[in-house]
């Protein structure tokens, strides 16, 4: 008989690696960590203090987006900083890395005037001024949000001129979408709690100084900024029905939950109920989280929501919602059936057990093996650096989770069979995915709290399973095509995809649509643009394409050339 515990890392250790699974064969799905090899040396500055201020534990997000329009997604990491000095970002600056198309990056932070403001939290990407260059917005504690206009060769801080300097609350996640369907991108900003360092409480548990619970502070309602189309934004949270629902928000997923052609919003709140805002088509929201069944977990408890994403998990043509939570709460997988009614099926689908001992943040549904269904990546890491002293099973640094969606409809946790990239034991927060090296496979990038940025390159042996990757660009619709929906017929399966303005935790995924073809030669794709335009792409084969609204797709080679906006 043995009584050894099954945890990989030493309790309380900062980082490490879990051993490979004993006896179980390696999965064909493999990820290797290659950040340094590929020129990415980002280091997040958590700025932890003896006072244990709440912002220190939240870490930061990252964005994957093609800022220089060379057809290859670039990386933007939000730094942390010094929570006691949010006036300037001397420590932990943000960083921008441009991609050459083959997945080699160069640090372009200085050249593009990237620095960061406040104590950094999250990032959102969208072409707010419709000039074809994706712009960038960062959130923070103590520094408000900052909007950076992309000039094509650098970022220009336009926070003041756009009116966003009035956005001062502690913001975490944010996302752009054309809520009112007028052709330009509006903005949703998630707020956490009303917190001031001078009034911060100290908290103890059994004589141990710990980070305080958000329960001690008042929730901050979120804000919605309407794009006036003249380069300015106006806060309309009250008018559109959002400010009436304060929550302690950490994560935002934007997408068409009822598939009716407009962008809805799910807000994952920390120990307050989650919010599900249905858009009436004109940008006015009705909050229906409680009756839809996503406000609480199955026991009726408000969990510690920290990340979210959408996917049609069970292939029934309805969008499902995921939400990551604290350890012991597991991650929720709310399946929609019938329309408008959700049930948390995380345990029967195999996600619950895997997430039980983990404190989870970023989450991405992504098809890692190009078989057409969306698998699941979850970023993990505790907030309490002393948790190892009170628990034998829960550690501060934790391995991230990768779960393959099997034909049975259940998820199989293959984290310890998927290569060294997935065996890293760190304190991860933000996560995003995209095809960084143009090989048709989705790679994963994460940000660690007080640690390195990691690039996990997808090295899977998918034996002939290829993919179609579509870079969509609106003309009648918003230029970023955020909110564009895709129904792809691949063999017998209909796959739903969407260009989403926000998901995961404080992060932004590569907005290009990825369709795994499995063994099929191609896909028939129906594009449903936010403008209402429907466009069919017949028998489109594997490869990368640039699709301008209403025009035939143009094959591209990532990184081959800058494609200037028209």
């Amino acid at each position: 008989m043995t009584l050894l515990l099954g945890c990989g890392a030493e309790p309380g250790s900062g980082s490490g690696e879990t051993p490979a699974a004993q006896g179980a064969p390696e999965s064909p799905v493999q990820f290797s960590e290659e950040a340094r090899l590929r020129g990415v040396d980002f280091q997040h500055e958590a700025g932890r203090t003896a006072e244990k201020y709440m912002p220190e534990v939240l870490g930061a997000g990252l964005a994957i987006a093609d800022f220089d329009r060379n057809g290859a997604p670039d990386l933007y990491f939000v730094g942390g900083g010094d929570v006691q000095n949010t006036v300037s970002r001397d420590k932990g600056p943000d960083r921008l890395y441009l991609n050459d198309g083959a997945g080699q990056f160069r640090d372009a932070s200085k050249e593009w005037s990237v620095s960061g403001a406040g104590y950094g939290m999250g990032v959102a990407v969208g072409d707010y001024d419709s000039d074809g260059w994706p712009d960038l917005l960062t959130t923070s504690f103590g520094g408000g949000v900052r909007l950076y206009r992309n000039t094509g060769s650098g970022f220009e801080d336009v926070t003041e001129s756009t009116g966003l300097q009035a956005e001062r609350a502690w913001s975490t996640s944010a996302g752009f979408a054309d809520f009112d369907r007028d052709g330009d991108l509006d903005l949703y900003v998630v707020h956490y709690v009303d917190y001031e360092l001078q009034l911060a409480l100290r908290c103890w548990h059994n004589g141990r100084h710990i980070y305080c619970s958000p329960g001690l502070y008042e929730a901050e309602p979120d804000s919605v900024w309407r794009n006036e189309g003249d380069g300015t934004f106006v806060e309309v949270g009250e008018q559109v029905g959002v400010r009436a629902h304060p929550g302690k928000g950490l994560a935002l997923a934007l997408g068409d939950v009822d598939w009716d052609g407009d962008v809805d919003a799910f807000v994952a709140n920390d120990i307050t109920r989650n919010l599900l805002f249905y858009n009436d088509g004109g940008g006015v929201f009705e909050e229906r989280g409680r009756t839809a069944g996503v406000a609480y977990d199955e026991s009726g408890r408000a969990a510690a929501g920290m990340g979210s994403d959408f996917s049609d998990v069970d292939g029934n043509g309805l969008v499902d919602i995921s939400c990551t939570n604290f350890q012991d709460e597991t991650s929720n997988l709310y399946l929609q059936k019938p329309l408008g009614v959700f049930r948390d099926r995380s345990y029967p689908l195999g996600v619950g057990a895997s997430a039980q001992n983990r404190l989870s943040w970023g989450i991405d549904f992504l098809d890692v093996d190009n078989d057409g269904d969306e698998d699941l990546f979850i970023a993990n890491g505790h907030i309490d650096d002393g948790i190892g002293s009170v628990s034998e099973q829960v550690t501060f640094a934790q391995a991230n989770s990768l779960m393959l969606l099997e034909e049975s409809g259940r998820y199989d946790d293959i984290s310890d069979r998927s290569g060294a990239g997935l065996r890293l034991v760190e304190v991860t927060r933000g996560a995003a995915s995209g095809d960084l090296d143009g090989d048709g496979l989705l790679d994963i990038v994460v940000s660690n709290n007080g640690g390195n940025g990691r690039i996990m390159m997808n090295r899977s042996d998918v034996a002939g399973s290829t993919s179609v990757i579509l870079w969509l660009e609106g003309t009648l619709s918003n230029r970023s095509a955020i909110g564009a929906r895709v129904e792809a017929q691949v063999g017998d399966a209909t796959l739903l995809r969407e260009v989403r303005g926000a998901s995961s935790y404080a992060s932004f995924n590569d907005p290009r649509i990825h369709i795994g073809l499995g063994g099929e030669a191609g896909a028939d794709v129906l594009l449903l643009w936010p403008s209402g335009t429907e466009q069919r792409l017949e028998a489109i084969g594997p490869g990368h394409y640039h699709v301008i609204e209403g025009e035939a797709p143009v094959p591209i080679t990532p990184g081959a050339a800058v494609i200037p906006p028209r």
């Binding site: 008989m1 043995t2 009584l3 409680r290 406000a295 408008g340 099926r345 345990y347 057990a353 034998e392």
Partner: protein, 336 residues
């Protein structure tokens, strides 16, 4: 009430018992040592090292300090050697949940040479706690099948199967002991059985069951939450909203209480720190801040604390004014 509570309550109850057992005294029976397992010829009480290790752990628990990793490891080795000793089992139950070492718990009980029904139920509960529903199912099904009238065994089987996604089998076990589920007010199991009906499209039965449950516990968040979902699925929007709003109200109440307790705990610690630093004025300020949030019992304690504090500092003359200020501060909180 959630699915973790039963095990936690049991653990707490056994902690006190285990302290006695560690000392080789008695607790609800004789301090039996049982028979040594095969190949283990020294009885526990004659194994000086083992007794010392177990006592060390006991002392750590009694003083509310966490045993060191080495102590825990040594304890586990002792437990390994004397796995079939009843008092070792009690000790394991006392220690490992406190360390949140559920894997260790499961491993220990599974490695006993003989499992009785109580062990099997405990193992199932541990696996359910760990969300390892496949293992929970394996652990409890033989017992539930052989004892179809055993409410706990069949309720555990139902729960493990429900979580595992085997609704039909879960329903069979729940239905066998339905009367027991009602009489024992197993609200979570009741709601699971109702949701199985809902998943099968039988909204009417789901609703009837939840109504029955709400008669037993009108303030059950679990039941109101489930009812809200069932009614939303049935298209009864208004009624669904009523139950969803009830969940919201009950949650708010719960959260208000928790928040208040957290704030009080944080402030009490600060008061102690100020006291230790000899900072009488700092102490007073913190107490004044805490009073509006404190309940009546806590307020009386805080007044007493102020009294003692000022007397000890030789500042009795200031006391009447300070206490008057404190009572005014408390009244401003409009608590109770």
């Amino acid at each position: 009430m959630n699915r973790l509570v039963s095990l936690d309550s049991m653990s707490r109850a056994l902690v006190a018992c285990a302290f006695v057992l560690f000392g080789l005294g008695s607790c609800g029976g004789e301090g039996t040592t049982g028979s040594p397992p095969p190949g283990n010829h020294i009885p526990f009480e004659k194994d000086a090292d083992a007794v010392r290790i177990v006592r060390g752990v006991r002392e750590s628990l009694a003083s509310r300090t966490r045993p060191s990793s080495d102590e825990v490891q040594s304890f586990k080795e002792v437990a390994n050697r004397y796995a079939d000793e009843p008092f070792i089992q009690e000790a394991v139950i006392a220690l490992l949940p406190a360390l949140e070492d559920w894997d260790g718990m499961a491993t220990f009980f599974e490695s006993k040479s003989e499992l009785d029904d109580t062990d099997r139920k405990l193992i199932a509960r541990i696996y359910i706690r760990q969300a390892n529903y496949g293992a929970a199912r394996e652990a409890i099904l033989p017992l539930a099948e052989s004892q179809p009238q055993d409410v706990e065994a069949n309720a555990l089987a139902g729960r493990a199967l429900y979580y595992y996604g085997e609704n039909e089998a879960a329903a069979r076990h729940y239905d066998r002991v339905w009367e027991g589920i009602l009489s024992e007010r197993r609200i979570v199991d009741l709601s699971f059985r109702a949701m199985i009906h809902f998943d099968e499209g039988d909204t009417q039965s789901a609703r009837a069951m939840l109504e029955e449950g709400l008669k037993l516990d009108p303030n059950s968040i679990v039941l109101h939450n489930a009812m809200g979902r069932v009614l939303a699925g049935a298209g009864e929007k208004e009624l669904a909203e009523f139950h969803s709003n009830r969940v919201h109200e009950l949650q708010r109440e719960l959260s208000r209480n928790e928040t208040s307790q957290m704030r009080v705990a944080a402030q009490v610690f600060e008061i102690n720190r100020a006291l230790q630093a000899g900072d009488v004025d700092g102490c007073r300020e913190r107490i004044l801040r805490l009073l509006p949030e404190a309940d009546e019992g806590m307020r009386e304690q805080l007044y007493g604390f102020l009294d003692a504090l000022y007397r000890r500092a030789g500042r009795e003359a200031e006391l009447p004014a300070v206490l008057q200020q404190a009572r005014a501060s408390a009244a401003g909180g409009a608590k109770d």
